[in-house]
């Protein structure tokens, strides 16, 4: 069409037309090269950009405040939340979790024997990349792996006894800075990239990504609730949610979010959720653990 117009209007000599064609070809070649080259994973650069994005949007918030999630945006909600924390609703789960954690397995071993430092004060290091299996291991999955190694059945990764145990383990890390490591291993970087892709991909009939609510709309209201920023969002898990009436894990929240946007959730121990937890928790590196937490 362009060439036709040029010929019809005799605005461009044949030589000039040929030069233009070459220019267009070069532009197309450069564009193709740019598209064909896969973006190299750079978690450290992502982390900087991610934290800078939120700090630019909410300049009054200090980095450590992000662990308070939606309660940074409403004085009224924050006051109610603080009142709830005077008698923390998750304390029963922490007590039950400690009891389960300290109970010996039938073979005489215990959870403590499966973890470094006896499982105390280590929650900030999860999720971890397991070089043997090439998979991401969340703290809940590590608890289940410990059980199956000692001949016990794996527990539900979403709530109940496992959530209680993780709540107890997390309580022993309270205040410690999140320290998720992404080793220079192709598989670990691929898992990180997969988690990142999942986080930013729109899904479900409502066409929402995790980022739609927790990046773009963070701090805004969705009906009666403020949306928590993705930065610091994992720091309070497991959480006691008033809506649930008990404590639930991060993967339980993933499942809930997926269902809300009308997407069939993945399996709790799926690679999709492992990788998502890996990416999302890494984005909060440096922020203090503030779990277990309480949310509406």
């Amino acid at each position: 069409m362009r060439a036709g117009v040029n010929r019809a209007g005799a605005r461009m000599a044949w030589g000039e037309d040929k030069t233009m064609k070459r220019v267009w070809l070069m532009i197309a070649a450069f564009a193709a090269l740019g598209l064909a080259r896969p973006a190299k994973a750079d978690p450290a650069a992502d982390l900087k950009a991610f934290q800078r994005y939120f700090q630019t949007r909410f300049p009054k918030l200090e980095l450590k405040d992000y662990v308070n999630g939606p309660y940074n945006f409403s004085a009224n909600d924050r006051a109610q939340w603080k009142q709830i924390l005077e008698f923390p609703p998750y304390s029963f789960a922490v007590d039950a979790g400690k009891k389960a954690f300290d109970t010996k397995f039938p073979d005489g071993a215990s959870y403590a024997s499966c973890f470094p430092h006896g499982g105390i004060g280590i929650a900030q290091d999860y999720p971890k990349f397991d070089e043997k299996t090439g998979k991401v291991v969340t703290i809940g999955i590590a608890v289940n792996e410990c059980r199956t190694r000692h001949g016990l059945k794996a527990l539900s990764l979403t709530k109940g006894e496992l959530a209680d145990i993780v709540a107890y383990m997390t309580s022993t890390s309270d205040g410690k800075p999140i320290h998720v490591v992404i080793p220079n291993d192709k598989r670990a970087l691929a898992a990180y990239e997969a988690g990142k892709e999942y986080f930013y991909s729109r899904r479900g009939q409502l066409n929402f990504s995790c980022a739609s609510c927790h990046v773009q709309a963070a701090g805004k209201r969705l009906r009666g609730q403020y949306l928590a920023p993705a930065l610091g969002i994992t720091a309070s898990f497991p959480v006691y949610r008033s809506k649930w009436g008990n404590v639930g894990t991060l993967v339980r929240r993933f499942i809930g979010c997926n269902k809300k946007v009308r997407s069939v959730p993945a399996k709790p121990d799926s690679a999709a959720y492992r990788d998502l937890a890996y990416f999302l928790t890494y984005m909060s590196n440096g922020l203090p653990i503030a779990g277990p937490g309480a949310r509406s």
Binding site: D46, R52, E197, Y200, R203, Q205, S209, V215, R262, S263
Partner: protein, 100 residues
Amino acid sequence: MKRMAWVLAATVLGLGIAHAAGKDDAARAIDAAAAKMKTAAALEDQWTPTVAAFKAAKAADAAGDYAKAEASAKRAEALAAASIAQARSQKHLWRNEVPR
């Protein structure tokens, strides 16, 4: 009287053929929906309304309501096709949402 019998027989036959055609159409629609849903599941982007529509189609089919089964299956197929399109487009578009 004879004519009445012929009309009645023709009606019964016609209804039977229509019924069989409806059953086949419903089965074809259910198969087509299942195939599309398999692709959507492989792309890890199945929608809950797709599953609900497919379940409704199977239930209507089992109950002999083939018109409803066909309609529900076609809805499931359309929803699955939309989720496939979403998953394929997001393979590139997700990068636009990353803060830089």
